[in-house]
Amino acid sequence: MNVRLRVIAGLTLAASLTACAQWQVQPPAAWERGLLAKPEMRIEGDPLQERFDQHIHMSKENASGGSGIGGGGCGCN
């Protein structure tokens, strides 16, 4: 991996950790997490829909990934 990609990776990780550290200031208490428990608030969505959408985008665009690993390859790209 070239130097530029490593720098970008490092900066992204640092920014993410910094952001999380900031947000840690007032995390919700257990009794405040009712809205967070709604199905639509889950980060993961409909598994079959996500598989289809990701497969279509992967076959028509160069970029892929970011929502999981280990899904296997495809001859469509």
Partner: protein
């Protein structure tokens, strides 16, 4: 789909929060099942779901590829500490892919099938989970095998989860009409991510994925097409889900940055608005924008004065170059609309429509690659799920 998501109602978080929950239930606006949104909690209900996809893409004056794909999904809790997830899909593809740039010959028309499946076994413990997974995909000219593993760890207050994972994929590539082609490609991936509850109405996630692949990257159905035999990829992604109490709705949004050693840089942003209508229906409009710069070896449709079409200027055997439109510079916009209905405590159905279009001029921050026809697609997904 609602039933699948509801199937992840957790037990461990409820145990942890039981005393506080009893008090919380006395407060207005708190759901009876105040559970975690994190992945390390075991599901309580099994889910069986099926979905069918109908996909059609086109370029001006040409219907290109048509795909029909039924798929099934299973989520099975096992003894409260384990879960098994599996899915199967079979694609039937007919139509044509360009031989070079956007030119399609009658010889490139084809009908083929792809069968793919994956399985994932997860073990849950106190504030952590571990998983192992496998995936296969088979076409007559392409075979892929993948193994993956990972873990999630939650903070003591269950507001933060750290996700780590690794995967190895081996692809075997052949080509119709070339029985001598038997090439391999191996890819190693590692990823790390953090999911954080940042307020009573906001969840964010950041992740970083690094991939290193070696082997055969050429497209055997394009000519001339010869690519580097190594590709390193970096993906940095962020998601933010925000509940809008005034509308009872949820805004789901995301951003992804992609970079690889082919020279491609890409940005993706997406957002959808989940609006409940009554107690049983949800309507979800969504938009997505994608932009990429061209690979450094992508060649525009300008051809050698002597060799002619499709050879790029100065082409010699072994030249690293590709006319693949997917490696060009372009932007893409899509819009979607999804309807969910919960029929009863067990059954749910959903329908999603999506329209997608690629244009060179839609690339962010400059003109896209010249001489390429716009590309568009539409797809429909119809699903049903049952939980028990």
């Amino acid at each position: 789909m609602a039933a699948i998501e509801n199937g992840s109602v957790t037990s461990s978080s409820r145990r942890a929060d039981r005393s506080l929950l009893a008090a919380a239930l006395l407060l207005p606006g708190v759901l009876p099942l105040a559970q975690q949104a994190h992945a390390e909690a075991a599901p309580e209900q099994a889910v069986v779901a099926a979905k069918v996809l109908d996909y059609q893409d086109r370029q001006p004056g040409l219907e290109r590829t048509h795909v029909q794909a039924p798929a099934v999904y299973l989520l099975l809790p096992i003894r409260g500490e384990w879960s098994l997830e599996a899915s199967l899909v079979q694609d039937s593809v007919s139509g044509a892919s360009p031989r070079y740039h956007t030119s399609i010959s009658s010889a490139s028309r084809q009908t083929e099938r792809r069968s793919a499946g994956d399985v994932k076994l997860t073990h849950y413990a106190a504030r952590q989970s571990w998983y192992a997974g496998a995936a296969v995909s088979d076409e007559h000219d392409f075979h892929s095998r993948a193994l993956s593993g990972g873990a999630s760890f939650s903070s003591e207050d269950n507001n933060r989860t750290l996700n780590l994972g690794a995967a190895f994929t081996e692809d075997r590539i052949g080509a119709t009409g070339d029985p001598t082609l038997d090439a391999r490609r191996r890819t190693m991936q590692v990823m790390g991510g953090v999911t954080q509850n940042v307020s009573p109405r906001d969840i964010v996630q950041g992740s970083l994925t690094l991939s290193r692949g070696t082997g055969f990257y050429d497209d055997p159905y394009k000519f001339p097409d010869h690519r580097p035999d190594q590709r390193n990829q970096l993906v940095a992604a962020a998601r933010w889900n925000h509940h809008v109490e005034s509308h009872g709705a949820t805004l789901r949004s995301g951003y992804r940055y992609y970079a690889d050693s082919f020279g491609i840089r890409a940005h993706t942003v997406d957002a959808e608005w989940v609006q409940p209508v009554g107690s049983r229906w949800r309507i979800t409009p969504g938009v997505r924008y994608y932009t990429q710069q061209a690979a450094r070896f992508y060649v525009d449709p300008v051809y050698d004065a002597v060799l002619g079409e499709p050879f790029p200027p100065g082409w010699t055997p072994g030249t690293i170059s590709s006319p693949d439109q997917r490696l060009s510079a372009f932007g893409a916009l899509s819009a979607s609309l999804k309807l969910d209905v919960t029929l009863d405590a067990a059954w749910a159905m959903d329908l999603k429509l999506e329209r997608y279009e690629q244009r060179a001029d839609w690339r962010l921050g400059g003109k896209g690659s010249p001489g390429l026809a716009p590309f568009s697609a539409r797809w429909v997904q119809l699903g049903v799920s049952y939980r028990f």
